[in-house]
């Protein structure tokens, strides 16, 4: 697979895996209204994943469609950042991850409008509208919980301590970023860091949260080396297509 395909696949898989996690909330949210709202966010992610996986399949040129890529790859071939595959945890962790990722997607999609790949630019133009809403919805929750009750503030603090170290991976460039920037398909993700911080910090301030200091920890999902949780997520997600080869759904 060439570098540009992998670059697209990172974004596609992030949407897919995050959508899969958010979908787990369906039927189990703290109130009915939020159940419906969270499912809308999950649906947007699955829609984004479908468009981006289809594009990755075209770039790859081996005839794999969105479902072949979503359901029939080995764990190492998934390229999502690790943060998105971690279990949902409580509602605080869910909305914080959603906010952090939506903020990232907002700056990424904005930059990708200038992509030399016209299809990618068209996909992200649509996604940008969706992620702006995700950021608003999740960001409002981060503020409510961060500056809510004692318990919610504690839970939000715990969520931040757990998730923050995983965000470092998003901005740790490798040869795929270098190639993407050189070819013009998209920015090296490290170049998005200051814009992302500018999105995150005002909301953190309102939520009484402080970004944590950088740690030596680097997750490596983008390179296909995932957490222990990924195997279970994939086993569940892939079970039917794996059990019934040749089936039509």
């Amino acid at each position: 697979m060439d570098a540009n395909t992998l670059y697209v696949l990172r974004i596609a898989d992030a949407c897919l895996i995050h959508g899969q996690r958010l979908a787990e909330w369906c039927g189990h949210a703290p109130v009915l209204e939020e159940d419906i709202a969270l499912t809308n966010v999950a649906l947007d992610h699955i829609g984004q994943a479908r468009s981006l996986l289809a594009l990755a399949g075209v770039l790859e040129g081996r005839g794999r469609d969105e479902d072949a890529l979503a359901f029939l790859r080995a764990e190492r071939e998934y390229r999502n950042p690790t943060a998105l595959e971690l279990p949902n945890g409580d509602f605080a962790r869910t909305v914080l991850r959603s906010f952090l990722w939506a903020s990232f997607m907002k700056v990424l999609c904005t930059a990708l409008a200038a992509s030399t790949n016209a299809q990618l630019a068209a996909i992200v133009a649509k996604s940008l509208k969706e992620v702006r809403y995700h950021q608003q919805h999740a960001g409002d929750w981060v503020v409510r919980l961060g500056d809510g009750s004692e318990e919610s503030a504690r839970r939000m603090g715990d969520a931040l301590a757990l998730l923050w170290p995983y965000t470092a991976e998003w901005f740790a460039d490798d040869e795929i970023d270098a190639h993407a920037a050189a070819s013009g398909i998209g920015p090296a993700w490290s170049s998005l860091q200051s814009a992302w911080r500018a999105e995150v910090e005002p909301v953190f301030a309102e939520a009484m949260l402080t970004p944590l200091a950088d740690t030596p920890f680097r997750s490596t999902g983008k390179r296909g080396v995932h957490s222990e949780h990924m195997g279970f997520l994939l086993a569940e997600m892939q079970s039917l297509p794996r059990a019934f080869p040749g089936a039509v759904w």
């Binding site: 109130v31 209204e33 939020e34 419906i36 809308n40 409002d140």
Partner: protein, 96 residues
């Protein structure tokens, strides 16, 4: 009972497209106005039903009393001269 901790109720009004009135379409619970607007969007406009949304706290609505319905609304009944059909005009100009 936990009712005292229930989020307030909001009434939702949706304008389906520019040029039309906002129409009452239901209600929902939300802890604040920003949330009420978002929830209204997520609950009541999933099928492109909306171009604009209003939300208002249900307890802020002042409503007429069904017991005064006769006093309120029946006096309008005999004011037939307010309606265009009251006036019989010559056929040539009756499209007026």
């Amino acid at each position: 009972m936990s009712t005292k901790n229930e989020w307030p109720l909001w009434e939702v009004f949706v304008r389906s497209k520019s040029g039309l009135d906002h129409k009452h379409c239901g209600s929902l619970h939300a802890s604040d106005s920003a949330m009420a607007l978002q929830m209204a969007r997520d609950v009541y406009t999933r099928r492109q039903e909306g171009a604009s949304v209003w939300v208002v706290r249900s307890d802020q609505i002042v409503a007429s009393d069904p017991d005064t319905k006769d006093m309120f609304f029946e006096p309008a009944e005999d004011k037939v001269y307010r309606h265009p059909t009251f006036y019989k005009l010559p056929a040539d100009v009756d499209h007026m």
